[in-house]
Symmetry: C2
Subunit: 289 residues, 2 copies
Amino acid sequence: MTLSIAHLGPPGTYAEQAAVFYVNWLKQTTGIEATLCPYPSIAQSLQAVAQGQTQLAVVPVENSIEGSVTMTMDTLWVLDTLRIQLALVLPITHTLISCATSLDSIQTVYSHPQALAQCQAWLERFIPTVQLIPSNSTTEALQLLKQDITSAAIASMRAAELYNLPTLATGINDHPENCTRFWVISQGQTDNSYHISSPSRTHTSLAFSLPANLPGALVKSLQIFAQLDINLSRIESRPTKRSLGEYLFFMDLEADADTAKMQSALAELSTYTEILKIFGSYNILPIAI
Amino acid sequence: MTLSIAHLGPPGTYAEQAAVFYVNWLKQTTGIEATLCPYPSIAQSLQAVAQGQTQLAVVPVENSIEGSVTMTMDTLWVLDTLRIQLALVLPITHTLISCATSLDSIQTVYSHPQALAQCQAWLERFIPTVQLIPSNSTTEALQLLKQDITSAAIASMRAAELYNLPTLATGINDHPENCTRFWVISQGQTDNSYHISSPSRTHTSLAFSLPANLPGALVKSLQIFAQLDINLSRIESRPTKRSLGEYLFFMDLEADADTAKMQSALAELSTYTEILKIFGSYNILPIAI
């Protein structure tokens, strides 16, 4: 069996880097081979799995500096059949890639808005007058750099190597403790032999909407887990897209959904929620670089 | 006295539209005149107020479809001296602006990533093959359109009129109930004669971090307000930027911070929090178009 894995492209993005790590890990631990399929957006990576074009997708969930990747959360809520199999944590080291001979000659810097935001202070300190141009991924603008030596892009060191481009500075992210969490996503129904089948999975992710006329429902939902000593490691709100002030809540809980305690908590939770979606239980695998 | 008001530019952005409404409202209700100062980013609009370059800024906080404007929240947390004076709610109607004679000849569409995301389904239905190019604001790319008739931009109808550009379609946002909430921000210390000095302000916004070793602290914080029947209209988490999994919590509460009930709630809250910042109490003014 050869698996196919969707990720945000073109090649060289941090999503691809996480996916490459996962492919190697999968080969070593299970012998399963996998190939990578770049897609132009995170939503399209997830749709590829939902429509059966690929078996898996590796998508960013959250960055330690810029926060949630809302595209991933919103798409996961809409595409009902997807399940989280594993989380990967990738340390992020941004590199300034350019054919310019010095920082002085750079006039424009391209990158994904999250990467531009993560290097804001460095850019203001060293090249304050450049124009910052957002792109759909960190690697989208790399093709341009050879034609235009006044341009630079922020991407990974691996991207510079892949595209055979020179670098001017590395580690330019403002916070050294920069990392991004990715999820490995499959369809709920498929054979799950390619995820860690450890007896205890450490995290469960879910999302829910609340009835509009139930005051205090969010507090009650949180209390269920607090009373059972289930730690909430993340809570995030997203608009329902119906009207301003109506939210969905996304939670990561430190427990396996299959345990008796969590089953009881989830049953109680469902009495307060309008729609409750459980995205799966999984372990977290740190990526060593 | 003539006030100056910072906003995201170039002119024609939705932030400017909200600011223009506020200028007119201010003139009618108080007689105070104000002028507008466009800035290239939301962060720079807020820094302009913090550094005394302008008295006020009008910045987007939250869109009903795309959610929080994280740049506003992160900058407000860092710039300690700023206070919210008023909230404005602007209905959003996106318009496709282009010198092309038909949709068929459009090859690229420019706009702010939030606007592109809000028109995703329309774009996929009517011009599925176009390249979407993110820009720093909805109006940044409008200058290009006259030179390149294969390009289009998504901005407001008002922007099309300001730049004297033709429109190909209007109301192209996927959700008709699309609106954005803005905050009018001043320095805490300045004369506050230019906000609604109603005796009862309906909302208070605040943010806090929690000590790492205090489990259940978030639930306790929410309980304080629930027990006092103070409605929580929004909760949002943002990374502390220290390490993955550490958050700041931003809350909007439906009460005036000066009331005895809120004073007592805030005093109790401060016993659980590490850092607590109160951004101010204010009323909400809907913008009729």
